[in-house]
């Protein structure tokens, strides 16, 4: 299983990719934001020599160990699922373009990033 450093690298790679996504494909921004957060959370878990078996297992880990970011992480998961399973029109009604950038990335993902940086350092 990947170690803490590998998860951080993967998170950075996803974050870099996120910045390249065209405004025409904003649902993918939500997906990339969530998977950036997934690797950040997994870096926390890897620091404890553990890893998640599934989304449900990871959510339970956050519920039990990192309650401060539970709301943001859950919102990222929800937005990612809505991006994948809602039709484009329904997704854009749920998340107007500005909300994708300002809230999904600017608030929820940044909240998780700051928390993990505070725990593990920013590298």
């Amino acid at each position: 299983m990947p170690n803490r450093s590998q998860h951080r690298n993967k998170a950075k790679s996803n974050r870099d990719f996120l910045a390249t996504i065209s405004p025409d494909h904003l649902p993918w921004t939500a997906v990339a934001a969530f998977y950036t957060a997934v690797h950040l959370v997994e870096s926390l878990r890897a620091a404890e020599n553990d890893h998640s078996e599934s989304h449900g297992d990871r959510n339970a880990y956050v519920q039990s160990n990192h309650r401060v970011i539970h709301g943001a992480f859950r919102d990222l998961y929800n937005a990612s699922r809505l991006a994948r399973y809602h039709g484009n029109a329904d997704f854009h009604r749920a998340f107007p373009d500005s909300m994708v950038i300002d809230t999904i990335v600017g608030v929820w993902l940044v909240e998780v990033e700051k928390y993990v940086d505070g725990r593990l350092g920013s590298t």
Binding site: S54, H55, G56, D57, N59, A60, Q63, S64, R67, H70, G71, R74, D75, Y77, N78, A79, R81, L82, Y85, H86, G87, D90, R93, A94, F95, P96, M99, T103
Partner: protein
């Protein structure tokens, strides 16, 4: 039992004092049957208690939360678990309600404190066919639905 004979069945003797005795030759077979009957009763009791626990400690807090947030939600469903236990809350706004979602997160944490590690998803108002992308209504528990008949608005 139509084809059973007196040799097949286990014969018991009932005394006036209420004692039940088994004919010696049938004791082993009686113990086997009795054990299975007791296990079936115990399993039934365990299941009944588990379902009661599920209603009281899982469904009821969710139902109360839904009623308290009834101005913001249309429905709440618990489909049969497929791996992990999930709850789907349908909002009545087309836009993702960030405030409502954070309150749902608080409920999720409260349930987790009680040992219910559940994933709760807020789905903004959308066509019914879109909901089927998230869960099948077949066998799903309807914890809350707006415009319920008055007789159904009580506790779970």
């Amino acid at each position: 039992m139509a084809t059973a004979t007196k040799r097949d069945v286990i014969l018991l003797n009932y005394s006036e004092s209420g004692q039940v005795t088994v004919q010696t030759k049938d004791e082993d077979r009686f113990v086997m049957t009795a054990q299975k009957a007791v296990e079936a009763c115990q399993e039934h009791k365990r299941q009944s208690e588990a379902i009661k626990f599920f209603k009281q400690n899982f469904l009821t807090p969710i139902r109360r939360w839904c009623v308290a947030h009834s101005e913001s939600i249309k429905g709440c469903y618990v489909p049969p678990p497929n791996g992990c236990l999930e709850v789907f809350v349908i909002g009545n706004a087309e836009v993702y309600d960030t405030k409502l979602s954070r309150e749902l997160s608080e409920l999720e944490l409260t349930l987790a404190d009680g040992g219910w590690h559940v994933s709760m998803m807020l789905i903004p108002d959308c066509p019914e066919e879109t909901l089927r992308a998230y869960f099948s209504p077949d066998g799903a528990i309807e914890v809350y639905a707006e415009s319920e008949p008055a007789s159904q608005q009580g506790e779970v």
